[in-house]
């Protein structure tokens, strides 16, 4: 007797499922876990939690979900190879993940080539849903443009005349800066941009940058710095008194991943986009937070929400399509409403962007830790350019 059927039988007995059901739906997940661990470990915990919840309540279409997760090495070349492996060897039905914009765009392009659904969980680049958008790629997080647009009304309200800008010198920082300047000029004609510092990502020379900004004597500063660059900038700025009597806006600065390391250095009064996990008490978030803390004995970060919501989005698309066929899944996602800890979001058919929003608020210190105060949720649907603009960008 050959061993093979016997092995399958044992497997079926062990997992307690019948033959028909032992064939799970596979999600191929890839991300730069070793390159951006601070953001991606919480993300992994987020999707693991969602997976357990969904499978615990019977899976989708009577089948379990399975996530095959890979490290994509943080470069487009490696990521494309990993994605090919997930598709060819693991027979993944859907792709999900990526963090950096260049990696996200490369995998998105592969998804178009291979005609398979790709849920770009983390990348912020506008291009993935605009210039380089394609039928098979859908993005969850609010984009660079959307998050910038969330801050602009608050910036315009202050009626500050002289603005200085500091940004990490790559596509995210560049497009945040460009969008901010464009939108603020529209909202507040006559505004002046008096200094612009483009710093190498992860290598900001904080002392010199802070000094150069101070020399420009700005009334307000717009920053898209994050992670170590932000921490260095904040400490130097505090020591050198750059932030006294200057309004500061910082994209992503309220996400726990970037806010928590600042601790007692947290600059009070900064306007940021972020995620006030401890104070957000909507029923859906409370349920998510409790489950997360129970499962991981840790509090959720922004990445946790992204990972969690991504899996629910894929489950929702599968349920609606009642199929794992890529074309049917893509059609199912268009206009689909899926639950997230921030409330339900809609997957826009026009640009394949979800309407997940973010929280805009101000930073404050509480017991030696940074928190967001005075915050409110801005839905992603309120910060979009016109449909016509989007169509011309997508060349459709």
């Amino acid at each position: 007797m050959s061993m093979r059927p016997f092995g399958i039988l044992v497997l079926a007995l062990l997992t307690g499922t019948s033959f028909a059901q032992s064939n799970p739906i596979k999600i191929g997940e890839l991300n730069s876990y070793k390159v951006f661990p601070a953001f991606l470990e919480p993300y992994r915990k987020g999707w693991e939690l969602a997976l357990e919840e969904i499978n615990g309540s019977g899976g989708v279409m009577g089948r379990k979900l399975e996530i095959v997760s890979r490290d994509d090495g943080g470069t487009p070349g490696d990521a494309v190879r990993v994605a090919e492996e997930l598709l060819a060897r693991e027979r993944a039905d859907v792709l999900m993940g990526t963090f950096a914009s260049n990696v996200g765009l490369a995998v998105s392009n592969l998804a178009k080539q291979r005609k398979v659904l790709f849920l770009a969980a983390e990348p912020l680049t506008d291009k993935i849903v605009w210039q380089d958008g394609n039928r098979y790629t859908w993005r969850l997080r609010p984009s660079t443009y959307m998050q910038t647009a969330m801050l602009v009304p608050e910036a315009a309200k202050l009626k500050k005349k002289r603005w200085a800008i500091v940004y990490p010198n790559y596509e995210y920082g560049q497009s945040a800066t460009a969008s901010f300047k464009k939108l603020l000029k529209q909202a507040q004609p006559g505004v002046e941009f008096v200094a612009e510092q483009a710093t190498p990502l992860g290598k900001i020379d904080a002392g010199a940058v802070v000094q150069a900004l101070a020399d420009a004597k700005p009334d307000a500063i717009f920053s898209s710095l994050f992670a170590t660059d932000l921490q260095k900038f904040v400490r130097e700025g505090n020591t050198r008194g750059l932030f006294r009597n200057v309004a500061v806006f910082d994209l992503l600065g309220g996400e726990p991943e970037y806010l928590d390391p600042l601790r007692d250095e947290t600059p009070e009064g900064w306007w940021v986009t972020g995620y006030p996990w401890s104070e957000l008490n909507t029923p859906e978030h409370r349920r998510f937070r409790d489950a997360y803390q129970k499962r991981w004995n840790d509090y959720p970060r922004a990445g946790s929400v992204v990972g969690y919501a991504s899996v629910y989005a894929i489950a929702g698309a599968l349920k609606k399509a009642q199929s794992t066929d890529s074309e049917k899944l893509v059609d199912a996602l268009a206009g689909l409403k899926t639950p997230t800890p921030f409330g339900a979001v809609i997957w826009r058919a026009i640009d394949h962007q979800s309407t997940m929003g973010a929280y805009v608020g101000q930073l404050a210190r509480k017991d030696g830790k940074g928190v967001m105060t005075n915050w409110r949720y801005i839905d992603g649907s309120q910060v979009q350019p016109s449909d016509q603009e989007i169509r011309s960008l997508r060349k459709e």
Partner: protein, 607 residues
């Protein structure tokens, strides 16, 4: 700019210079004595940061700094005694590979020990505030660093000139064989110097924590900066390293002050290239002492019939792969072929040419971008673009190589790195042409090559022919002249070989085939971004060549295949795959100091 702004920016430059000097000084010392290009120096700096951040709440900041430096120094001594000591007899660059493996292991060890989150250290007690200065504010701690840099330089200078140990270190730096012949205990000296160098790296890291969070990516950032400083100053020269730190610190500060912040992406490499073009041994360096008994010169290039036959059989087997292997197998094999060609092209420079390059990715990237631009911007079909792209890479190699062949050894290697970094920063910032940091997207070949098998066969044919050509070229009159120039430039000149011209030609050949590999890579991935010409790509190529064995003919091809397979396999199967990869490399090095291809020759000689 006001006078006050100029003064404050000048001080900023001094503060950066001091922290640069601290890490560069140790690297320079280690290189001077042991000739080890210590790739792990940035990792030691990172460990110093983590140790200090971890210790600071327990012991207080000012005690944490020396403790962290000591701990890192001890670790350095252990690494030297347990690992590097075993391989001093191996080809010089093997030690570079070993320290690269340490980088991988240390990074994962830090992740395991301290977790993923960035850790910002405390402010230094007593120096937390700022000085009111010329109408501005200058942090007290940075003023402390401004003073500390010259103090450390003075202390090292005293140790090296006024103590017996220092005299021995200088003697070994001048001529280590002679020092050994005179009875200096090399083992102890090497361990001590390595420990001191590591201690300085740890000190630099520990002192950085009030200004910079400890984070996992810092190792590579620091090591490139430190290399630049050491080479710019002149290898082994501490005053040179100090001068170079000052130059780079000030140039960066004033780039930012004058509103040219975008230049800071690669300004240190521009400075280094300019200085090396005028002063080939750096600011205060001297021509290196002749190493007696160069490992490279020792062995003639052998390509036995059995090895040739094995290669031919393998090529035939590879042609059958699409019939036997699944789709993913072909994807992986295509990657292996591309990198085998890339490694073979670098090997042509390093093996017969005797010129190490730390920036070979420049030509890989040049080929990839040329191919991508031809397809996307000029509408050329992919097949034609693949044929044209290597010429663009060869052109880049001709331009860069013209400068590089005027230098020697590590200076030349660092100039290749500088050019690669300059090319990288252009690709990274020239949005309109290169797509900036996102790169070029949508490069898929058309019909016959669109299938995995089609593209695989195409790659196999091109890469196979190219590698065969490179191997053949090693035995052509050109290759022989190149090897003669490597083994004895003086004698080669005397019999009428134009050494510089041959080396330059070798650069162009290596660039051409590196470019072909890049073009093949671009269409196998469908997109390219600046990472195709970034430092890690160059380092990977170096690792592949060294892993395979720089003295063999076919070794680098095996090295490339093994490295590609290992990183694919390890990334999938092992959680701490970097550490696993590093450990695997270490085991290979200790077991096979001549590289993978050394197994065959060793086996043969033992019979």
């Amino acid at each position: 700019m006001s006078g006050s702004a100029i003064l404050l920016q000048f001080l900023n430059g001094l503060a950066s210079a001091s922290s640069l000097f601290l890490v560069a000084a140790g690297l320079s010392l280690i290189f001077g004595v042991s000739r080890i290009v210590n790739f792990a120096h940035g990792s030691l700096y990172m460990l110093g940061m983590y140790c200090a951040v971890w210790l600071a709440p327990r012991t207080g900041f000012w005690l944490a700094v020396p403790l962290a430096a000591l701990a890192v120094g001890l670790l350095g001594a252990a690494a030297e005694a347990l690992l590097l000591r075993r391989i001093y007899k191996a080809p010089e660059l093997m030690q570079l590979l070993a320290t690269f493996a340490l980088v991988l292991v240390i990074r994962d060890a830090a992740l395991w020990a301290w977790g993923a989150e960035d850790m910002l250290g405390p402010r230094a007690p007593g120096l937390a505030g700022a000085l009111e200065l010329a109408g501005g504010r200058f942090p007290q701690y940075e003023a402390f660093l401004v003073v500390l840099g010259p103090l450390v330089l003075a202390a090292l200078h005293l140790v090296l000139t006024r103590t017996r140990w220092g005299v021995l270190v200088r003697a070994a730096t001048e001529d280590r064989e002679m020092a050994a012949a005179l009875g200096v205990n090399q083992r102890l000296l090497f361990t001590a110097v390595f420990a001191l160098g590591a201690l300085l790296a740890g000190l630099g890291g520990a002192l950085a924590i009030p200004r910079e969070p400890a984070s996992l990516g810092i190792d590579l950032t620091v090591i490139t900066d430190a290399f630049v400083v050491v080479v710019l100053g002149g290898l082994g020269s501490l005053p040179g390293a100090f001068l170079a730190s000052l130059l780079i610190g000030e140039v960066k500060a004033f780039c930012i002050a004058l509103g040219y912040s975008k230049l800071t992406l690669a300004i240190e490499f521009v400075v280094m290239a300019l200085v090396l073009a005028v002063r080939p041994w750096g600011l205060l360096g001297r021509p290196a002492a002749k190493a007696h008994g160069d490992a490279l010169a020792a062995s003639p290039l052998r390509f036995p019939a059995a090895e040739r036959l094995a290669c031919a059989v393998l090529a035939a087997l590879l042609a059958l792969a699409p019939l036997l292997s699944g789709e993913y197998g072909l994807v992986l094999l295509t990657d292996m072929l591309v990198f085998a060609l890339f490694a073979a092209s670098l090997h042509f420079l390093m093996g017969p040419g005797g010129m190490a390059s730390f920036g070979h990715a420049a030509y890989f990237g040049a080929g990839a971008y040329a191919a991508g631009l031809l397809v996307l911007r000029a509408g050329v079909p992919a097949e034609a673009a693949i044929v044209a792209a290597p010429f663009a890479a060869a052109l880049a190699a001709a331009a860069f190589g013209w400068f590089c062949v005027r230098l020697a050894g590590v200076y030349m290697a660092m100039l290749t790195l500088a050019f690669a970094q300059i090319a990288w920063s252009i690709a990274f910032q020239w949005d309109a042409l290169t797509g900036g940091s996102n790169g070029l997207i949508g490069l898929w070949p058309s019909r016959p090559l669109a299938s995995k098998a089609g593209y695989y066969w195409f790659t196999l044919a091109l890469a196979g022919l190219a590698v065969a050509f490179l191997w053949r070229a090693m035995y052509s009159p050109f290759g022989q002249a190149l090897r003669a120039a490597r083994d004895s430039p003086l004698r080669a000149e005397a019999i009428g070989i134009d050494v510089r011209a041959r080396r330059w030609a070798a650069f162009v050949v290596a660039g051409f085939f590196g470019g072909l590999a890049g073009a093949l890579f671009a269409f196998s991935k469908g997109s390219i971004s600046p990472e195709t010409l970034a430092v890690p790509r160059s380092v990977d190529a170096l690792v592949m060549v060294l892993l395979g064995g720089v003295q063999s003919v076919s070794g680098p091809v095996w090295g490339a295949a093994l490295f590609t397979w290992l990183s694919d396999f390890a990334a999938r199967e092992v959680a701490y795959w970097r550490a696993a990869l590093g450990a695997a490399i270490l085991v290979l090095i200790v077991a096979l100091p001549q590289g993978v291809a050394g197994i065959a020759s060793r086996w043969k000689s033992s019979r």
